[in-house]
Each structure stands twice: as C-alpha cells, then as structure tokens.
C-alpha cells in the first residue's frame, strides 16, 4: 500500500504541475477571479449610488415643503433637487421633458408615468401634511400640538415570512449550479488528460510501471486539486466581502452550507471523475473526447435536473429523498435539500457514505475499462469490447 500511494502521488504531482503551468489554467483562473470580483463589487457600486429626484415648482419651492422633503429624503436615502419654472405650463413641460421627476403648482401634482418610484406619493404626503398643519394651526392648536400630530407615524413594518430560509435555499441552489459546472469542467479535463495519454501512447509506458488505479487516482486527484483551487479563487472575493462589508446579503446560515458544499464537491467529483476517466480511455484520437464523454455528461445533467426540479419544488417529497440519496444525483440534490433545513442528519451521512462507496466501486470498474481500452488502438473503442467477455 505504501508504494501504491507513493507512485500515485508522483502521478498526481506531475499532472498537477503540468496543469498549473499550462496557459489555459492561468487564463481560466484569471477569468474566474475577475468574474468573482465583479460579482462582488458591481452590486456594491450600484447599491451605493443615491437616488436623486427633482421637484419643479412655479416660482421657488416653499421652505416648509423643502424642509419636509429633505427630512423624508434623509430617512429614505434620496436627494431632492429643486427647479423653479415661471408658470404651471412650464412646470408641466419640465416634467414631460424629463427635466423634473414631479411638478407641483397650485393644487396639481404633475408626474410622468415612466420614473419616480414612490417620490410622487412622498410629495403628495408632504403637501397634505403641510396643508393639515395650516388648518390645524388655523383651528387654534398651538405649534407644539401641531408638531405632535405631525409626528404620528404608521406602525413599523417588519417582514417575517421565510426570508431567511429563502436566502438559504438560494445558497443551496447556487451550490448545486456551481457543483454541476465544476464537475463538468473537471470531468472534461480528466477525460482529456486520459485521452491525451492514450493517444500519445504514454499510457503503455505507464502501465508497464504502474497499476491502472494508480494512474487514474493520481490524475483525478491532480485535476480535483486544480478545480478546488479554482473554486477557492471564485469564492475568495465573496468571502472577503462578507467579512469586510457584511452587505452582500448572504444569509449567515449559508456559511455551514458552503462548507458542506466543499465536502459534496469532493464526493461528487470523485464519483464522476472515474466515469469521465473511463470514457476518456475509449477514444482513439483526442478530438473524440467530447463525444466519448457525452453519456457521462448526460447522466450528470439528469442528476442535476432532478436536483433542481424535484428537490427545489418540494424538498420533503419521497422523490426528493430518493434523489438526494441516489449516488449519481446526491452530490447535487443533497446540498439543495440540506439547505431547506429539514433533512435528518442520518440521511446526509447515508448519502455521503453511498456516494463514497460508489466512487470506490467505480475506481475498479474504470481501472478495468482503462487497462483494456488503452491497448485497443486504431478505432474508437465500444463499451461492449471492454466490458464483460474474457479478461485480456
């Protein structure tokens, strides 16, 4: 066993260095980093921009109105600018031309139907408030009493519902998508490496020194490490932003889910990696890789579709439980289901154990396909040729 690992590690080291040295690794990782930074910073930049509304009035806006709107702007994070026009027609024209958000003359409020959000309502409320104050003052109330009446506020709104869980489910869904993409990319890379070794006949030299399982596990470990590294690159700006600004809107419960996602990536990756490796060994020319891995990609896609359709719609249904336990769909279905918050821990552990056991089984199947397929050259190997029948 000691030698087995020593040689497997050598294979992995070589493949890892070759990957890290390659131009495609540098390009892809750079792009991922840029994407991740953009995903974190762009919403920040957009989010910090304060909204500005413009109020057009005939003549200067009354100071009471300005005071009331500025106060509203401070609490609701918007700025109001004021423009004065000669008469109500000019005010109306300013709103129509887009020079002002809202126009106010006499008893008329001009609004455009394109923009402005709640601003017209705010202005209308301010007008009503000011008018009411004047009437109350006229009715003999002291300024203090008027102010008291003005300070009456509607009850504070607190959204309850399932906001937290929705955020968490969103995180679960994101994890599912990332896992699916990561396994697809890493799997393709593994199949390509195996196909390259076969088409350049390196595998024959390797098989004279190594067991097929050593070549396969070494390659899978190396590419798994590279992919994990790229996932970290993708996640780092996000994690930093959460620490520094705490304003990404990531629900706090997601941290545990993300840790779990890494574990699921490893399990799911190991499971599919050996299928991809076996598929790669079937090709004759390296250009055939894509069609050779199609069956594996299809299985992966079905597992993913199952995860996002069945599990997302009802995480507690029998089908969801089955999808989250079945090894080929579990790596994508279980994280999504787990994020729904009501998965018994034993099911999680069972799903993990089943997936791990399946990948161990697949190592031996893939090794046998690999050994047989590598020596058949000159045409694309059919599965029938390497499965069943007599041993070579």
């Amino acid at each position: 066993m000691g030698t087995w690992w020593k040689l497997t590690r050598l294979v992995a080291e070589r493949a890892l260095f070759e990957n890290l040295r390659s131009r495609s690794f540098k390009v892809v990782t750079g792009l991922l980093l840029l994407m991740s930074i953009a995903a974190v910073t762009i919403p920040q930049i957009l989010g910090n921009e304060r909204t500005t509304y413009t109020l057009a009035t005939a003549g200067a806006a009354p100071s009471e109105m300005v005071a009331a709107l500025d106060a509203a702007g401070r609490s609701a994070k918007f700025t109001v600018t004021y423009v004065s026009r000669g008469d109500s027609n000019a005010v109306r024209k300013a709103v129509r031309d887009g020079d002002a958000t809202v126009g106010l003359t006499g008893g008329t409020l001009y609004t455009s139907n394109t923009a402005g959000g709640t601003f017209p309502v705010v202005v209308a409320q301010a007008v009503v408030g000011l008018e009411t104050s004047h009437l109350l003052a006229g009715a003999g109330l002291s300024p203090q009493q008027v102010a008291e009446l003005q300070s009456v506020r509607p009850p504070k709104q607190v959204t309850v519902g399932r906001v937290d869980n929705e955020g968490r489910a969103g995180a679960g869904l994101a994890v599912g998508v990332v896992l699916y993409l990561a396994i697809t990319f890493a799997g393709t890379a593994i199949a390509t490496t195996v196909a390259m070794e076969k088409s350049t006949r390196i595998s024959e030299v390797l098989l004279a020194i190594l067991r097929p399982s050593q070549v396969l596990v070494g390659t899978v470990v190396a590419i798994g490490t590279v992919t994990l590294l790229q996932l970290l690159v993708l996640a780092t700006p996000l994690a930093v932003a959460v620490r520094v600004t705490d304003s990404i809107g990531l629900p706090p419960v997601a941290a545990g889910d993300i840790t779990l996602a890494v574990a699921w990536f490893l399990l799911g990756f190991m499971l599919y990696a050996f299928l991809f490796a076996a598929a790669g060994a079937l090709v004759n020319k390296i250009t055939e890789v894509n069609s050779a891995i199609l069956p594996v990609t299809m299985i992966l896609l079905v597992g993913y579709m199952l995860a996002i359709t069945v599990v997302t719609s009802n995480p507690a249904s029998g089908w969801s439980v089955a999808a989250s336990l079945f090894p080929l769909s579990a790596p994508m279905a279980m994280p999504i289901r787990w994020a729904s918050g009501d998965v018994p821990i034993y099911q999680l552990l069972l799903a993990m154990a089943l997936t791990a056991a399946s990948s161990v089984f697949l190592v031996s199947v893939a090794s046998s396909i690999y050994r047989r397929a590598l020596l058949i050259t000159g045409h694309r190997v059919k599965l029938r040729e390497v499965l069943g029948g007599r041993a070579l």
Binding site: T200, E204, L392
Partner: protein, 305 residues
C-alpha cells in the same frame, strides 16, 4: 539466469496472437525478437512487461515467476512514442526515473548523464514536442534507461531511424549488454539488426520458428555459399563433393552451396590443390533467408522486408 519465456499463449477473442512461444534471454547477450509484422512480437513484449496477462504460460526472471517489483526495475520502450508533449525533456526523464523508484536527486543526476550520452544535454529545458523526431526517440530511450534497468525491453527501436541513429542506438545497447544487462528488442527489419543481435528468437504467426545464437544458426545452416576465384584447368576436383551444388560458374568465378555436413574449408583445400585460388569467401545466409527457410515461406507471400 535472465528471462525465461515459457510456452506463452495469448488470444484476442478468436484471433490467436501467441501460440506457445518459448525462449530465453541471457544477461549480457543482445537478443532480437524477430519476425514479420503481425507475428505477435508486440503482444509478447506487452506480456513480458505485464501490460497484458498471458492466457497460458509464464515469464520467469532469475528462476522465479516475474512480479510487479521486478518489472519496476526494468526499462521498456514501446513501439510508438510515449512522451508528454508539453513537458520539458529533462523533467520527463526525471519523472520516469522517479516512477522507477529513484529519489528526485538521483533521478536528476542520472538524467543529466544520460541526456549527455545521447547528445541531448542542451535540450534539458525544451518542450518535448519542440524536439525533432530523432531527438524524441533518444529521449524515449533515456526514459527507459534512466534507472539503469537490469532488463531492457525495446519494441521496434530501429523503426524509422536513419543509418546514423541506428549505429548510435546499437552502440548504446551494446554498452548495456557489456555491462551485464539483459537486452531484448523486437524488429521486423531482420537484416538491419543482423550484426547487432547475438541471440535471436524468430516468431511467425504466434510460434517460435528459430532460436539460438546468430553465428551458430548462420554457420550451421545449409545455405552457406563458398565463393572462389580459382585458376584451375577444369572442375574435376569438384567431383569429390557430389553434395556441393554449383550455384554460379563464370570464367574462374565459382559460387558453391555447401551443405551443413561438409566443411567448406575441405572444399577450399581441394580447390587449392587443383589450381591457384586468387580470392575466396564464405557467405552465410542472411537472417531473412534463415527466416524464409524456417518459416517455410517463399518471398512472394512473406511479409519480410
């Protein structure tokens, strides 16, 4: 003790590739596994190296069945090139050295010595796919020799080499054999490797058709031809050797085929007694002629080049 191949059989489905092949490879004696394309040479070498398992029979090394640990100390050069295209040449040799159990330091220093011996010392950092075909071939040899293997197995090492490369590869193999290594290579270019092999095993259609020392096989074959330029008045002296056939007779030049049981030197003595022998020579059959005779083939249906 070397390598013993005992009664090895292997089939791919219904197609029999090897049908009971047996021969020995002795350390220090360069041995050629010869035969036409499709004779089963590559299959046999793959079985030797453990890439394939035989259906029947055994490969023994030092008197016992060969195992994985033995094979890790062997060196193998397959028929088609097997190198990582994007890897620097030196790293490639070091990597294979380490796979064969060398430490990083040992592998590096041995790789340097070997690349120097093979004339690749200034190519250490070059990407493998930037090297010429001949250089890649030598690099491939380096990956097979870096751990100074006790057993060196090469599949068609001379295929596609220019004459200079053939000479230099032959020299490398002779050096290893002189150092006591067990060297076995396959080739379908029988006459090209005639001078390199000391022992041969000839296979045809999965069977061994001829084996032993090249010198003995050639000398003991009935296909020896004695070439004479003899100034004698007549050919009466030849009457004493009725088994000797006259293949060519032009003026004073005679070409005689001498059967295995007659000593050509006796024939030469008889010629000298009859007249003045100006020139003479003994032409031994080429390996391809031996193959034709052994495999009972005629030129038109044999695949020998």
């Amino acid at each position: 003790m070397g390598l013993e191949i005992r009664d090895v059989e292997h089939s791919f489905g219904d197609r029999v590739a090897l049908d009971g092949v047996s021969f020995d490879v002795v350390p220090g004696v360069i041995t050629g596994l010869l035969g036409p394309n499709g004779a089963g040479k590559t299959t046999l070498l793959r079985i030797l190296l453990g890439v394939l398992s035989p259906d029947h029979g055994q490969v023994r090394y030092d008197g016992r069945p060969v195992d994985e640990e033995d094979r890790r100390r062997w060196g193998y050069m397959p028929q088609e090139r097997g190198l990582y295209p994007g890897m620097p040449a030196g790293d490639q040799v070091v990597y294979f050295g380490r796979l064969h159990g060398l430490s990083n330091g040992d592998a590096t220093s041995r790789a340097r010595v070997l690349l120097e011996e093979l004339g690749l010392e200034d190519r250490w950092g070059d990407r493998t796919d930037k090297l010429s075909g001949g250089m890649q071939q030598r690099l491939q040899l380096a990956t097979a020799l870096v751990h100074d293997p006790a057993v060196i197995v090469l599949d068609e090492p001379f295929a596609g080499l220019d004459p200079v490369a053939v000479v230099s590869l032959s020299e490398t193999l002779r050096q290893r054999a002189r150092a006591g290594r067990t060297v076995l290579f396959s080739s379908h270019q029988l006459d090209l490797v005639q001078d390199l092999c000391e022992d041969i095993a000839m296979v045809d259609r999965g069977r061994t058709v001829l084996q032993g020392s090249v010198a003995t096989l050639r000398a003991s074959s009935g296909r020896r031809q004695l070439r004479l330029h003899v100034q004698a008045p007549n050919r009466d002296w030849l009457l004493a050797y009725p088994e000797v056939t006259v293949v060519g007779d032009e003026a004073d030049d005679l070409r005689l085929e001498v059967p295995a049981d007659i000593d050509p030197l006796d024939v030469l003595d008889a010629a000298r007694a009859a007249g003045r022998v100006v020139d003479f020579g003994l032409d031994l059959p080429t390996l391809s002629q031996l193959f034709m005779a052994a495999a009972d083939r005629t030129l038109d249906r044999a695949g020998v080049s």
